[in-house]
Amino acid sequence: MKNFFKKIPKFLSDIIIILCLSFFTGLICYQFSDNFTFKESESHQNNLSQYSYISIEEAITAFEDNQALFVDARHNDEYIISHIENAENFPADNLDSAAMDFLTKYPDKEINIIVYCDGKDCDLSSITYDFLQELGYENINILNNGFTLWKESHMPITTNN
């Protein structure tokens, strides 16, 4: 135990050296890096009360009656791997590029849209929700934790295997 306490200053200085070294190396490389383009959408205040949510049961009914367009807010890579059948991808990290295609394909602003991502704390749906609202779409709902609930309900998904 005595040995352990003697080592405290040693390992603290070691940790500081390692952290500083990696930080400054990273910082220097960062200056020369031009391919780091990923950036989450603008800072998003997660004010849940401003969004309209629907339950999984309502979403299933809308799907079966073909009365809603499902919009996947996750990254394109994840969408390609698997998504709700017939869902359109509108990734929250690439809103501007997705907008033009979406507007051309769905000019009717009164279309019933259900936005989903994956996970209870996922806020990608609300980012896409805000953007779709800015584009003029009026009937938007969020299916919280959508993809997980959809799979748990054994509803059809499209996978890229």
Binding site: K7, I18, C122
Partner: protein, 144 residues
């Protein structure tokens, strides 16, 4: 004799740990954007920390591996490596419990399709790494 064997085993573990961290860092250092997506998918870190973490974490991993290979700052390197593996394992278990299957991002910055089997494999692998790092850290902290 016993002490000699122990020294050899600690050195072997040190090199294994160095290789693990080198492989982890080198695979992500060239693609911070891809790694940022993986971190974002974990849905654990706040948005403003994602890019910074994606950029600096691989450098930290490489730095730790260099320390482990060179034998410099070994005590600090052992503690950081143990804490990092502990954090990664906890993040995987946390997301599995939440039902979010995300790509591990452990040795690649590519997003893959992940099933529960993959997830269990990732967690078991991380637990083995945790034991390796724990053994090494213990020997660094309590060696005479």
């Amino acid at each position: 004799m016993e002490q000699e064997f122990k020294n050899h085993s600690v050195f072997t573990v040190q090199i294994i740990l160095g290789l693990i961290f080198f492989a982890a860092g080198a695979s992500k250092i060239t693609d911070p954007a891809g790694f940022a997506k993986i971190i974002s998918n974990y849905q654990i870190l706040p948005e403003y920390l994602i890019n910074e973490t994606a950029f600096f974490l691989p450098y930290l991993e490489i730095c730790i591996s260099i320390m482990l290979f060179s034998g410099l700052c070994l005590t600090g390197a052992s503690i950081i490596s143990f804490l990092m593996i502990l954090t990664f394992t906890a993040a995987l278990i946390f997301n599995m419990a939440r039902g979010i299957n995300v790509s591990c991002g452990c040795f690649t910055s590519t997003i893959n399709q992940v099933t529960d089997i993959h997830y269990i494999y990732y967690i078991l692998r991380d637990i083995i790494f945790l034991f390796i790092a724990g053994y090494f850290t213990k020997n660094m902290l309590w060696k005479k």
